[in-house]
Symmetry: C2
Subunit: 352 residues, 2 copies
């Protein structure tokens, strides 16, 4: 036991030194983490120079505002918004006016602004009503972008949506190909809505330029209604039995025409090009009544909306090209694209 005390004393010294070293290492580890988190944390007004990439703060909330919030159409847009948020480590929130009512959407937008989010993506129920609310948000330093339906005179930084003229052009090319470059066609549209007018113009101009042997027998109003479009298609075929193809600039139009072709026993024998990818349209693509439908780049609308808002919030715009008045240099327009959906790829478009 001679060595006992010294051993104890040694143990004691050892323990004290060891604890010191352990404490030191833990302190170092702690400092390392503090440094690490400071280094790559949210630096709002500067480039994130760390090698960890583009990342935000999970506390930053980006809001999407819609109208008729029950519409299936918004689902993929919301998914794109969410996917971008996940990639960038930020949060999202969805606020929708339930009705097709400008006043309700204004209220919802005002409520979103009041909560001072990191950014707002909004789709405009019409080109004018939301302008005062949008301008107020921008003035308050909240970046705003518009998707799907724009408000050109507002102060919003960017518009992300379909190039409708080009969508009509793509429909014309599909029609020209399917008809072998000749024949008569008809269009069922909503003549008083700008996006539908642009689709019709793109369709008409492209047929004229690239398929001069295809004529347009009629351009008719389907009023965005399945029943009216069905009736209209039947009337057109009664007046012009030579019509070999239809282009519907809107989803219900395509479903209505499809119904008419089925009733008349000519489904699959007349070419039909629809628009959008609601379930009714997809079912008719699957059974061969609709030859092709045009899918809008809805995921892109949501994804790149968030990407733009994030870039503005973090001032990742052209360095030196800003001023306190809110000058910015985000791309003013992003064409979110069109994909042609046929029997070959229709299954990808059913809601999962």
């Amino acid at each position: 036991m001679k060595g006992h005390t010294p051993t104890f004393r040694g143990d004691d010294t050892m323990k004290r030194s060891t604890y010191g070293i352990i404490y030191g290492l833990f302190a170092a580890l702690f400092l390392l983490f503090v440094w690490y988190y400071n280094f790559r944390g949210d630096r709002q007004d500067a480039w994130d120079q760390s090698p960890s990439g583009l990342a935000g703060d999970i506390e930053d909330k980006y809001v999407m505002v819609t109208f008729q919030s029950g519409l299936d159409y918004w689902r993929t847009i919301m998914k794109g918004f969410e996917d971008a948020a996940q990639g960038l480590n930020v949060s999202v929130e969805f606020r929708g006016a339930t009705q097709y009512d400008p006043h309700e959407e204004i209220t919802v937008l005002e409520q979103a602004i009041a909560r001072k989010p990191a950014g707002i993506a909004v789709t405009a129920i019409d080109p004018e009503s939301l302008n005062p609310a949008i301008d107020k948000a921008v003035k308050a330093g909240i970046p705003v972008v518009l998707f799907d339906s724009g408000a050109p005179k507002s102060a919003a930084y960017s518009f992300l949506g379909t190039d409708n003229y080009n969508a009509g052009a793509q429909a014309a090319r599909e029609m020209g190909r399917l008809l072998g470059g000749r024949g008569e066609v008809a269009v069922i549209t909503q003549p008083n809505q700008l996006n539908h007018e642009e689709r019709t113009n793109g369709f008409r101009d492209t047929l004229r330029a690239e398929f001069p042997e295809i004529g347009i027998a009629e351009v008719a109003d389907g009023k965005g209604d399945i029943g009216i479009s069905e009736k209209t298609a039947k009337e057109i075929l009664a007046r012009h039995p030579e019509v070999g193809g239809f282009f519907a600039t809107q989803a219900n139009g395509g479903v209505g025409i499809g119904q008419a072709l089925k009733d008349l026993g000519v489904a699959g024998r007349k070419t039909l090009i629809g628009f959008d990818t609601d379930k009714g349209t997809l079912d008719l693509v699957k059974d061969g009544t609709i030859d092709a439908t045009l899918a809008q780049g809805t995921w892109n609308m949501g994804y790149w909306s968030l990407m733009e808002l994030f870039h503005h919030h973090h001032r990742l715009v052209q360095p030196g090209n800003e001023d306190p008045q809110g000058t910015h240099s985000l791309p003013p327009y992003i064409d979110t694209g069109i994909t042609v959906v046929t029997q070959a790829n229709v299954d990808q478009y059913y809601a999962k």
Copy 2:
């Protein structure tokens, strides 16, 4: 010295235990870092689910290909490309054909493709020549986007550039404002180049629609040359002394007109709107000869080119909307914007 040996033994034990603990902690630290780097490292074909944001691998090389690589015009585009690369933790490389020669640019592009980069951003010297090389790259799985000058029939995924029609429209609004909505103007352009034709059309249509009391006396060819534009401007003013404003759709045109106005002693008394932000133009903005010039969103061209290439390389496009044939859903067009440069903000545009 009685306690000497035990103390030594104690020291010895202490040392061994302490080293063990230190080794253990270092091993833990090492494992932590291994885990950390694995966790947030390059996962090429999937969403990076970590909270560290969008990040690539510094080994991934994205290449930009230009022609007339000495042109000052590319500088800000390259800066945008670099800034995005820094943000995303990837590498860039710049390859330029030195001459205005399609064959040389094809060779440079082919060399870039051979090195199998993560993506290529290229500006097309003309709309056709590069198509076979671009299509070859896309077929080989290398994403390609076009900036500044497009090649619409190529397989490239996207085009990022100025909406030239809109640029002309903005010039018209600036002209209308400066002339107080009335008077005669002239345009000096290059009539056979598509982008210049679009600028002229946007200018003409917008004046007609929004400033019906402003007439266009002449649209003349300046051949992209300072001397010829100067001579042309003098001839126009001799024929039409009532002309109160000029719009040049191209940088040299603006400088040439400015020279003419100085020679005739009317600099600052005739309205002059130029294009682009080369030093010659900026100097004339600074001294008041050019009232406004239109700066293209060159930084955006580079920045968002890399952003799109990165998204395709990492398959961060619409989930479920891909197939082995290379289907993709990047936005097909990004309008990189226009900023009006006047004496108020001209200093920001000088090369730093």
